[in-house]
Amino acid sequence: MDARTHFLAGLRLVLRTPSLLAWVYFTTLVVAFPLALAMKHLLQGSFEGSLVEDNLRRGFDLSWYEEFAAGSSGLGKTFGPRVVGILPVLSNLERLLDGKLHQVDPAVAGAGIVMVLAWSLLLGGILGRFAHEEEPHSRSGFLARGGLFFWRFLRLSAISGLLYWGIFRGIGQPLHGWIETATRDATVERTVIIYTVLAYALVGLLFLATQLVLDYARISLVVEERRSVLLALFRAMGFVKDHHRAVLGLTLLLAAAALLWFLAYAWLAPGPNQSTWTAVLLAFSLGQAYLLGRWMLKLWFLASQTRLFASSLPQAPPAEEWEEPPMENNPTATY
């Protein structure tokens, strides 16, 4: 099994299924947009009519922000100069690696939960599409497959939540605490930086390894139409172990693509100085292009992994026609 082959096959697959990209992108946008409207209302209310408008149109106004921050609570607290350029991406990456994704405003956390549910609903259809690319497909079939696997993915998400909690809070946090203690008498910051980078790297690797296994478990659930999440997990572990070279190679290729994408955005990410509608929309579009690319990378991961997993099966999965099951037997009927 050649990692490069599956890497490219995954890319072709994603490019051939732009509707999937559209689904996930617009789902995120739909979940986020109401909060963005609320934020716009908050911001506008804080400076409407004031000459601060001009400063915020041309760039940023730290004096206004200090006042806004001093009087803000809830959603307003999530706004600040950290939304400029690459900073939002770094903020979220930091939250992830520090295991603090849940430490956000309740409204944002609520949006996160909605997104988890939406993703769990879409994932079955996405993986089914990647696994059975040659089959005819329909929107209803896509959603039906999503519904079919929804609860299984939620169960797997609960397990993955426990695993990630273990990694970020059970290993990451104590590790950083240990560094704090071990370097209590260190007088050289560089030493502590090296320790910290190593700790982040270890946590990141554990995260990636766990995610890898969980990805293949999800793929196993769909491709092999498993009902047991635990068995799928064991199956995934076995798969990763048996095909570690291909899995690792594919992961490295995909990680390199993700890194390049991140660096490209870090280079191009717009600052705060758009003063016309055109410039504002261009900057927003650049941000959306980054986010689209990020979704594409996620799908690329899944597509490549699905192809790799499918190719490992004794025989290709049966090219069964995905038909709408009769209502009485259709477990997704409630969706």
Binding site: L29, S46, L51, F60, L62, L101, V280
Partner: protein, 711 residues
């Protein structure tokens, strides 16, 4: 300070274990000195002394009467045990007209004797305690123990051992567990004009760094480390406060002659000039430093320091030899440290007065040593990070600030226990001004991944107001009356009250009186206060005299009261003037009954009635400039005395209003809401609100995708 609360025995005090062969000072000499000459090159010592004398002679001389407390100290550092063992001779002259029956000493390191001290109790009140004793190790606590105290024979005094008479006092809060003030009753009072000499043997356990003093690894920063006299006041009482979490220090000026024994090859930096180094048996060396006319002595030692020396030269200012002790990992930032120091020496020198000592030691402390950003006479610590992008304000800001303290505190020795704002506030104001003059605006830096990796946003600019830390003031605008003695401030708000509020009201004065006037106020105050202990009244008096104005009402509001300033433009309107009723027009007597009649009549000369309602939302009162800008570009500028709760302006102009602004030039940085200082007739908030909401949307989408990346 007259009363001692809960005086209590100073504990069992054993005999002094003198490890060093220092024998005390010469009786009858004006300064504490040393009988034994260190076995180093006499020529080197004399050359160094000559250089110091020459340097001092060239500098501005301190009036002899300001030399009140002088110290000769010999101390050995035992790095493994984290101990200091010392002996000192204190020579104190009663410069007041009242007799002193006691001597009061600070024992600062007892602030970390245990968790019952006043310092640690107060520190725990902070929202984020700075104490590193949240998880204390057994070696982290400290103490300062006086093991013997004798009055030396000389003049009217007989030799007497006062060790058993010593008691601790808690004059500020009556905390019976606080041991930061030691009172020594004397057998014979020190009469006005008399000088007493006291020899003290002491031992001190070095803390893990607290309040900028202590150790980290093999880095030692030794500040407020020896038994130190309080200040005897004209009313016959000692000003000797307990050590508080929100305060710093107060001492008399005098001379220091200090010998520090440390492991050989460890670098030493200290207040003053090094006179020589003696190598001892056992792998130690003794460094001798001396400095006249200072109110404190600090030193630091570490084997890791690297050293660079340069000379500051600027036309019209005395040269200053600068010695930088820096961490090897900050090699790339050496020039930045020197430049910031030189900019401070230049601007403070030109604006306020010359730096007289001729030498300055700049210390870049060890990583997380807790010693960053602190000032002592002729030596200060700055503080930087391994990654510290130029333009982000660090280490330049802290370097300028601490270099500035050489002027505001080292030379103008106000009482930081009671009026910390005098040096911290003036210096914060000056720091922001020097920073802008030297570097322009600062870009904010945001740190990620446990603070190690900075990202700067150069497009966002922080100016004078931000560099005065206004955001801190906003949180405490109403809450602390600045005239309250600093040691009584709440530990969480003390910084904003002392540093930020003062810096902001000085900026308000600058913008209202002009920089030339404020500069003269500050330089006059500086000149008057050199080597002295000025109080708030001295500053206010100078401000009134130099400005030629009665600034009393201003100081009353910002200093004696917690007045909040908030002026706003409540509403604006511009309505076309439409005359109704009977008018004389073109020789005719017309009735304008309908709007259309009025329009027909006035279409060639449309006028708009503009109404602007200003509000005073706070209780602070300052005259306000008011600016009305009209769509045709015309500007109407007027002044409102700001006294009434509101003010209505009604103008008829040929153009509609564009916007109205109260205090359009932001002359009052104490205003807690700049945003409401202006109002447009036609708001244009849609674009900026959309722009920033869209940026936030990108953050939120990225957050959601990050959440999904877990699944």
């Amino acid at each position: 300070m007259k009363n001692m609360n809960n005086p209590r025995p100073a504990g069992s005090l054993g005999s002094v274990r003198v490890r060093l062969d220092w024998e005390g000072s010469r009786a009858g000499s004006s300064d504490p000195g040393f009988r034994r000459t260190v076995p180093i090159s006499r020529l080197a010592v004399w050359l160094a002394l000559a250089a110091l004398t020459l340097s001092s002679a060239q500098a501005r001389q301190a009036p002899p009467e300001t030399r009140t407390s002088s110290y000769a100290i010999q101390v050995e550092l035992l790095p493994e045990e984290r101990l200091l063992e010392g002996n000192q001779v204190v020579e104190w002259r009663n410069a007041t007209g009242k007799p002193a029956g006691e001597l009061w000493f600070h024992l600062y390191w007892n602030a970390w004797l245990n968790n019952r001290s006043t310092w640690l109790r107060e520190d725990s009140l902070r929202s984020r305690p700075r104490s590193s004793l949240r998880n204390p190790g057994p070696g982290d606590w400290s103490y300062s123990r006086v093991e013997s105290l004798k009055v030396e024979a000389g003049g009217p005094f007989q030799e007497s051992d006062r060790t058993s008479a010593m008691v601790f006092a808690s004059p500020d809060d009556g905390n019976p567990d606080d041991r930061t003030v030691l009172v020594v009753p004397l057998e014979r009072p020190v009469q006005p004009g008399e000088t007493i000499r006291v020899s003290i043997g002491w031992k001190a356990k070095i803390p893990r760094t607290f309040a900028r003093t202590g150790f980290r690894g093999n880095f030692f920063f030794i500040a407020h480390w020896f038994p130190k006299l309080g200040v005897f006041q004209a009313d016959g009482s000692w000003n000797c406060h307990q050590f508080h979490a929100a305060t710093e220090f107060f001492s008399d000026y005098g001379n220091y002659d200090v010998r520090m024994t440390v492991p050989t090859d460890w670098k030493v930096g200290a207040t003053g000039v090094e006179l020589g180094v003696t190598e001892n048996a056992g792998g130690t060396s003794t460094h001798r430093y001396r400095q006249e006319d200072v109110h404190d002595f600090v030193w630091t030692t570490s084997p890791d320091y690297r050293e660079v020396r340069r000379r500051f030269d600027h036309p019209g200012l005395d040269p200053v030899d600068i010695r930088l002790l820096y961490q090897p990992e900050h090699q790339g930032q050496v020039d930045r440290h020197f430049r910031a120091t030189e900019e401070a020496l230049k601007y403070y020198g030109l604006w306020f007065g010359e730096y007289p000592y001729g030498h300055l030691t700049v210390v870049d402390p060890a990583w997380r040593s807790g010693a960053r950003g602190m000032e002592y006479p002729t030596l200060y610590t700055c503080g930087t990070r391994y990654f510290s992008p130029f333009g982000g304000g660090a280490p330049e800001g802290v370097t300028i600030h601490e270099a500035g303290h050489q002027f505001w505190y080292a030379l103008v020795g106000n009482n930081e226990f009671e009026h910390a704002w005098l040096d911290e506030g003036i210096n914060t104001f000056a720091t922001a001004r020097v920073f802008e003059a030297a570097y322009g605006k600062r870009a904010p830096v945001y740190r990620f991944f446990r603070g190690f990796f900075p990202v700067m946003i150069p497009e966002i600019q922080a100016g004078r107001i931000q560099n005065s830390r206004r955001h801190r003031f906003l949180a405490v605008a109403r809450g602390e009356i600045q005239a309250t003695p600093t040691y009584l401030y709440h530990p969480s708000t003390a910084g904003a009250t002392s540093y930020t509020k003062t810096a902001l009201w000085l900026l308000a004065l600058e913008r209202r009186l002009g920089w030339d006037v404020l500069k003269r106020i500050l330089s006059t105050f500086f000149e008057n206060s050199l080597y002295r202990h000025p109080g708030p009244g001295d500053f206010f008096q100078v401000a009134n005299r130099v400005s030629g104005q009665d600034l009393g009402p201003f100081f009353e509001q910002v200093f004696h009261r917690d007045k909040v300033f908030d002026y706003s433009v409540e509403s604006v309107s511009s309505v076309k003037v439409e005359t109704r009723g009977y008018v004389d027009k073109d020789g005719q007597f017309l009735l304008l009954a309908e709007a259309s009649d009025a329009q027909d009549s006035e279409k060639t000369s449309a006028l708009y009635e503009t109404t602007v309602l200003l509000r005073r939302l706070g209780d602070g009162i300052l005259p306000q400039d008011v600016l009305l800008r009209f769509e045709d570009g015309e500007k109407f500028r007027t002044r409102w005395d700001g006294k009434n709760p509101w003010k209505l302006y009604r103008l008829v102009k040929p153009s509609k209003l564009d916007y109205a602004a109260v205090d359009p030039d932001l002359t009052n940085p104490l205003d807690v809401d700049f945003t409401n200082n202006s109002r447009r007739l036609e708001p244009q908030a849609n674009l900026p609100a959309t722009k920033w909401a869209l940026k936030w949307l990108i953050w939120l989408q990225d957050y959601l995708q990050t959440v999904v990346s877990l699944l």
